[in-house]
C-alpha cells in the first residue's frame, strides 16, 4: 500500500532522529586550567589598639629604675619570604613644647608572641619560627635599626614589643607633661 512518496518520508524521519540522538554521547568530561598567581608580599602592621603607647612616670621608683610596658602582639607581619624589620623615631628627642628627652633613652625589645601558639611551627613548613628568627633590642634612633631578622617568610606572625624608658638623669629637672615621638617600623626583603 506504500507509495514511493511515503517511503521517502519515513527515511527522512529516521535520519533526523539519528542526528538528535548521537551528539550527547561525546562529552562526558570537561576540563579547566586553574592558575594560582603568587606575588612577593611583605606587610607589617601595628596592632590598631596599641597605636599609642604611654610610659607613665608617677613614683620615685619610676624615675630611679625607669618604666617599661610590654605590648603583646604589637606587630603583625606577613611576608612571602625572609624579611628584616627596622625601627626608627621621627626625631632624636621626645618633645614636650620646648623641653625634650633624648630618644636613645628608650629601648625597644621584640619577642615572639604567644599569639603564634608558643612561637613554634609557624615559620612555615614545620620550621620553628624561633630557629628562623633573630631578635635585637634596639635603642630608639632617627636612623633605622634592625630589631627582627627572619630567614623565612610567614603568614600572620605576631611579635610583642617591650617599650622601656631608662629613667635617671635624663628624666630629671623636666617640666611635667607629655613627651612624644613617632616610631616607625618598616619591613624589607632580607
Amino acid at each position: 500500500m506504500f507509495t514511493g512518496r511515503q517511503h521517502k518520508t519515513n527515511i527522512f524521519i529516521g535520519i533526523i532522529l539519528l542526528f538528535i540522538a548521537l551528539p550527547g554521547f561525546s562529552q562526558t568530561s570537561a576540563s579547566a586550567t586553574l592558575n594560582v598567581y603568587l606575588a612577593d608580599v611583605r606587610s607589617i602592621k601595628v596592632n590598631p589598639a596599641q597605636s599609642i603607647v604611654t610610659l607613665n612616670f608617677a613614683t620615685a621608683t619610676d624615675y630611679a629604675n625607669g618604666v617599661s610596658l610590654s605590648q603583646p602582639s604589637h606587630l603583625e607581619v606577613t611576608s612571602t619570604g625572609g624579611y628584616i624589620v627596622k625601627v626608627k623615631s621621627s626625631s632624636s628627642v621626645l618633645q614636650n613644647r620646648s623641653e625634650v628627652i633624648q630618644a636613645n633613652t628608650i629601648t625597644l625589645t621584640p619577642s615572639i608572641s604567644n599569639a603564634n601558639g608558643g612561637g613554634s611551627n609557624i615559620g612555615g613548613n614545620s620550621q620553628s619560627l624561633a630557629a628562623d628568627t633573630y631578635l635585637y633590642p634596639s635603642k630608639l634612633n632617627v636612623t633605622p635599626k634592625i630589631i627582627i631578622d627572619a630567614s623565612r617568610g610567614s603568614s600572620r606572625t605576631f611579635y610583642d614589643v617591650k617599650y622601656q624608658a631608662s629613667g635617671g638623669a635624663e628624666y630629671m629637672n623636666k617640666a611635667s607633661g607629655n613627651y612624644s615621638v613617632t616610631i616607625t617600623y618598616t619591613i624589607e626583603p632580607q
Binding site: Q27, A32, N35, Y37, L38, V41, N125, G153
Partner: protein
Amino acid sequence: MKLKVNRIIMIAGSIFCLMQSQKINAQTTANSTLNVVLSDVRSIKVNPSQTNVSLIFANAADYNNGVSSNQVGHLEVTSTGGYAIKVKSSGPTLVNGANAIPVNTITLTPTTGTQAAPSGNVVGISIPGANNVQKASLLSAILNPTAVDFISSPTGATKLYYDVKYQASGGTSYINKAAGTYSTTITYSIEPL
C-alpha cells in the same frame, strides 16, 4: 414494461457498482509509524570563556585569608537521567617550574546557577520546576588527583548550569614560594548515578 424495469435495475446496479469502485480507489488516509528513539545521554561542559581560572595573591590579606573566585555558569550539564559529577586535578600539586603548591589547599564549591549563562540561556530553563535543582546534592570538594564526589542529582535535566567557587587557602603552603604562576588542570566528569 418488464423489460423497462429490468433495464432500470441494471442501470441502477451499474451506477452503484461504479460508486463502490470509486470509493475504493479514492483511499484518503494512510498510516506511517513514528519512532522517537531516546538514548541515554550525559554531557558536561566547562563554560568556554572560563577554561582558565586565576586566583591572584597580591597582598598580605590574600596570604592570610586565602583567595577565592566564583565562576558563574561554569558547568553546563545535560543528562537524561540521574547523574553524578566528580572532579579531580591532573596531579598532586600546582606547579611552577621546580616549585609546587599542594592541590589539597584548593576547595571547589558548587552552587546551583542563579544567573543567566553567558550564552544567554536562562539557568535551569528546561527543568520542570526548580525541584530538580534542589534535589541535587552539592558537596565542597578538596582538590585531589583522585576523582572526588562533587554533584549528584537523582533526576536528569537539560542545559542545567552550576556555578563553581574556586578557593585557595593561603597560609603556610603559600609562603616561602617563588613568585609566579602555579597551574594544574581540573577535570569534571559525569556518569550515571
